[in-house]
Each structure stands twice: as structure tokens, then as C-alpha cells.
């Protein structure tokens, strides 16, 4: 506890309140209000405007549940693969010289400066039956292998787009780790692998959790990546919501809102579960 913390602050301070006002207004307008709209559309009858739970009950239908399950499945696979790629990568980057580290991080972030749509279109181009990948396979007399329109293409798209969000928080935790802790583990008899398992991994849990959150949440709610890489043949929950809302009818609004509502609960539950694992760690701010 620092001395500054011990000083009692006045409960209400006008300058502080004013400085927070723009952000507060923003939150109310663009976060709280839309959430309330979702709740409103999800919980009222589209014709009469009376409170009802029938909209929510209606979306528990086999076709929606199947799509919901598929979304969860793809998001989980993408998150797991991202973690498997990102952790060793982040570890490698922290072992580089400082100059090279900045370079590696820059290279990693570079695709993020390009719009997600453009990135996804370029990936689509690569995966097409006459795309670069199939041309390469063709050299060995294989293919053309249909990649577009498969679940594989969608998962690949998710990994491709969201990998940096997994690497960065893990890298940030690993790069701040005290090198002496690794030396201490080695000093106390740990081989490099044992050091990774007993010291480095437990101390980077907070980064892993941030990474999982930052990949899983956008993955499960994505709509553009899936519809684009499957040419609309495989729908995820985000696609369904988007379609319903863009129909602009009272009926479709309540379906879209109900699905959003359920997705939101799903995300909150999964966040709660992942955060339980990181309870002992000091959380990394997202």
C-alpha cells in the first residue's frame, strides 16, 4: 500500500467527474442503450409489446441449437490452435534480442493494420480451387482440394485473423517475467522443460487467459469470416443474428435479439469459467 493510497480522497470531485463525462456518455449511448434494446426486443412480444419469454423459448430449436453448437465448436478449436501456436511463438520472441523482439512484434501486428474484410478476402483468394495453395499442391499432382466452403476454411480464417490477439498478451506477460526466476528454477535442479512447466507456465496464466478471452469472444460471435469463407454454406450464430436483424421486421428483430441474448450469456459464462483459473494471478487488463 503506497502513501498515496492512504490519503483520503473526497468522495465527489467535480473536475474528476467532468473528465470522465465524455466516456460515460459514450458508454451509455453505445453500450448500455443497445444492451437494453436487445433485452427489450428479446423479452417483448413483437406484435403486442407485452412482456413474454416466448421469443427466448422459440430460439431453443434444433436448427438454432445446431448452429450455436457449431459456433462454440469452431471457436474452441480456433482458440486452442491459436494457443498452441502462440505460446511457443511468444516464448521464442522473448528469447530474442531486444531489437529483434520489436521487429517480430511489428511483423505480427502488421496484418492487424489491414481491415479484417480485406484480410479475409485475401485468405479466400489463397484457398480457392485455383488459388495459390491448390496451385502448389498441383505441382505434386494433388488436387485441386476443395478448401473453401469447409469448416476447416472457417477455422483457418478465425486462427488467421485472431492469432495476434493470443500472442500479444502472452508475450507481454512473458517479457515482463523476471529472468532470475528462470535461473532460480535451473539452479534448483529444473531442466529447461521442467522450468517451463513449473515456473514459466504457471506465471503466465494471466496472459493465457487474456489471450483465450480475446480470441474466443470474437470467434464465437463472428459473422463475416464464416459467411465469406464458406460462401454462405456454413452458418454460424453471428451470421444468423446478422441475417435476422437485417430483415428489418419486428418478428426478425426479436429472433435476432433473443439469439444475441443467449450468445451474450454464453460468453459471460465462459469468461467466468476462464477467469476462475486465473484467480490467484493478478489479472492482465484486457
Amino acid at each position: 500500500m503506497t502513501a498515496a493510497n492512504a490519503v483520503k480522497r473526497p468522495r465527489f470531485s467535480l473536475p474528476r467527474w467532468i473528465s470522465a463525462a465524455p466516456h460515460m456518455a459514450w458508454c451509455v449511448l453505445f453500450i448500455v442503450a443497445p444492451l437494453l434494446f436487445i433485452c427489450y426486443y428479446a423479452c417483448t412480444d413483437p406484435e403486442t409489446g407485452h412482456l413474454t419469454l416466448s421469443n427466448l423459448a422459440n430460439v431453443f430449436r434444433a436448427e438454432y441449437l445446431r448452429i450455436l453448437w457449431r459456433s462454440v465448436e469452431y471457436a474452441l478449436i480456433a482458440t486452442a490452435v491459436c494457443l498452441l501456436i502462440a505460446y511457443p511463438l511468444a516464448l521464442c520472441i522473448t528469447r530474442m534480442k531486444q531489437r529483434h523482439q520489436s521487429m517480430a512484434i511489428l511483423l505480427l501486428m502488421l496484418p492487424m493494420w489491414i481491415n479484417l474484410l480485406i484480410r479475409t478476402y485475401s485468405l479466400k483468394n489463397l484457398l480457392e480451387s485455383n488459388g495459390l495453395i491448390n496451385q502448389f499442391l498441383g505441382l505434386f499432382g494433388i488436387g485441386p482440394v476443395p478448401i473453401l466452403g469447409t469448416g476447416f476454411a472457417i477455422v483457418l480464417g478465425l486462427i488467421y485473423n485472431y492469432l495476434p490477439y493470443m500472442v500479444l498478451p502472452i508475450y507481454s506477460v512473458l517479457s515482463k517475467m523476471d529472468r532470475r526466476l528462470i535461473e532460480a528454477a535451473s539452479d534448483l535442479g529444473c531442466s529447461p522443460l521442467a522450468t517451463l512447466w513449473r515456473v514459466v507456465l504457471p506465471l503466465s496464466v494471466s496472459g493465457i487467459i487474456s489471450g483465450i478471452t480475446m480470441v474466443f469472444v470474437p470467434s464465437i460471435s463472428t459473422f463475416f469470416i464464416s459467411s465469406s469463407l464458406s460462401d454462405g454454406t456454413i452458418l454460424l450464430i453471428g451470421d444468423v443474428i446478422e441475417k435476422q436483424i437485417s430483415l428489418h421486421t419486428a418478428r426478425s428483430y426479436s429472433v435476432g435479439a433473443s439469439l444475441s441474448f443467449i450468445l451474450m450469456i454464453l460468453i459471460l459464462v465462459s469468461l467466468f469459467i476462464t477467469n476462475r483459473f486465473g484467480d490467484k494471478q493478478e489479472g492482465v487488463v484486457l
Binding site: D178, R180, L181, E183, A184, A185, S186, D187, L188, G189, C190, S191, A194, R198, V199, P202, L203, K280, Q281
Partner: protein
Amino acid sequence: MSKLIELVNVSKSFDGEPVLNNINLYIRDSEFITLLGPSGCGKTTTLRIIGGFETPDSGEVLFEGQPMTHLPPYRRQVNTVFQRYALFPHLNVYDNVAFALRQKKVPREQIRPLVEDMLKLVALRGFEKRNVTSLSGGQQQRVAIARALINRPRVLLLDEPLGALDLKLRKDMQNELKNIQQATGITFIYVTHDQEEALSMSDTIVVMQNGVIQQIGTPTDIYNEPKNAFVADFIGESNIIDGVMRADYRVSFDGQVFKCLDRGFAANEPVDVVIRPEDVDVVAPEKGMLRGRVTSVTFKGVHWEIIVDIHNFKWMIQTTDFVAQDSEIGLYIEPDAIHIMKKSEFSGMYGDYSSYSDELDRLSDPEADETESAEGEEEEES
């Protein structure tokens, strides 16, 4: 006592900057040896080479006569107490101390009594469940010692382990460390820049500067028979005066010839003369061998520390009798208080008390500061 660890012609540089220059050193079993020197002198690098965290560019490290230069740290019978402790923040006190035993796959039921013994040794019983980050510096220090000792290493390396503690606690821990060392019989290799700490704890002191060992000896040897101006200045306070050996047992400085106990120098060889401040007697001006004017008087509790100007050379003298500022006094120096050193690269760099400490000089010198901090970081990082 046999040689446990031996460093043979060890050299090391970082980014082309030499840090260790041809170090030769052996460490005997069960001794308490201290590597002493200012920051950037290479003492920490030497320790890290013994611990296995650095590999020397050339030279060999032997353990009981067997080369261990390229053994990784986890294969060495050496454990380390790190600077700022490096305790595992995700483990509690018990788990930190038990860490090495778990790695060795010692059965659970054997670990508990061993950990408890260790915590008893460092006076931390009852702290098992505590989070290490909630402990005070002194307590973390003890956990670090317990964690390193539980393996019963042949050698314990300690890298400025008391640096972060305040004075009183540091004195207590010095005694405790010495007691632990004697109780366990484990060889301690201790790194510090605190000369008092080194003198009071060590069996052997290795004084280092500029990546070179300046002197190896017992604390009394190092204090009474410093080998060059650097050692004389770094260990305790000293007046270092230019002198000339006239003959065996005869040295001249300040225009006079004094009796001394040293011999074996060439006739008229220039030398450095060391006189410790506590070895000079203050007498009436007419009775003194030298006379001068007191320019400053500082009360130190046990004694007065006075600065005396003799022919523009400022002497420091410690006396239990009060002397007034600006008074004329005489100095009387016994032959056994005069110590003669050969001239060295450090001659002329130390010895005058016109400005109080050369550390302060260095701090106020922007150029020297730059090189100093660069070296310090070098050592820190590596």
C-alpha cells in the same frame, strides 16, 4: 582443506567489453570466501560463472578437479541465493522451500520434515502458508536461503544477499549467515561491495577491480597488508602518500625519513606509503614527526575524525581526543603503522582526503558516471 572449486585462466567479455581478465582462483571446502569490489569489478560475473549462468569465453572451471565449465546450472552441486531473492511468486513459503526436493522426486512424507527443519534454521516456523510477496525483505531473504540450502549443496553462492536490508537487520543477518555456514559446513561464496561485511564474515577475501583479482587473503592480511593503493583505499580508510624507499627499513615521505618494517625494495624505489587513520597519534606540534593544521573535525561517536593539512596533502586521522578546528597539531607515527606498497596502476588515484570520498567525486563527474552505469547494467543484465 582440499580445493573444491578452481577457476583457471577464466576470461569473459560482454559485447566486446572485457569483464573478467584471466581470473585464477581456488576455493577450499567449507570455507567462507567473499568476492569484494565496487560495482562493475566482475565479482557477480565470477559468481555467475561458478553457478553456471554464464560460460567463460576462455578458461576452465573445475569442481573437485573435474571440469564443469559447460555443465548447466541444474547439474551442478551448487545453489544460489539471488540478489533480490527471486522467490517464486506463485508459490507459498513452504512450496518455495520444497521446490528443489519436489524436482528431485523426494517422497512427500520425507519433504515435510526437511522443509520444517530448514524453516527452523532460518527462524521462519509458522510461515509455511504465507504468500512470499507478503513477506518483508528480511523474511524473503530467509526463505531464499532456506530454499537454496535444502538441497544440501556443496557450495552456496550468495549474490549481495543483504543489499536490500536496512543496517540493523543487515548486521543480524551477517551473524546468522555466519552461524548457518558454520553449522552446516557448506562452502559459502559471497559477493558484496560492503568491505565491513566482507571483513566481519569471511575466512578469505578476494578483492577485485577491473576484472582482475587484486588481492586474496584473510581479512587481517587484506586490512594490514594491502597489496596496492586500490585495496588500501577500498578496505577501510587510508592515507596513501608518495614515498621513496631509501634503504631497507627506511622510507622517506614529506621530506623526512621514517623507520618502517618493510624491506626488499630497490634503493630509491618510489613506493606508495599507507598509513591508517587510527594508527596516527596526535601530539603537541613540537613533539610531532609531522605538523599540520586541522581543517575539519567530525564527531563519529567512538572517535573524532579530523582532516589535517600537511603540505597541501589532506590526512585523515581518527582520534579519541578532541582537537579544535584550525589548530596546529603534531603527528606521531610508529614504525609498524607504516605500510609500504609497490607502485601500481592505481597509484595516485586514491589517498588524499581533500574531497571526502572518490565515490562522491565519481557521482559528480558526468563522464565517469556514464561509463560506470553502463558497466553496472552490463553486470545486472547478464
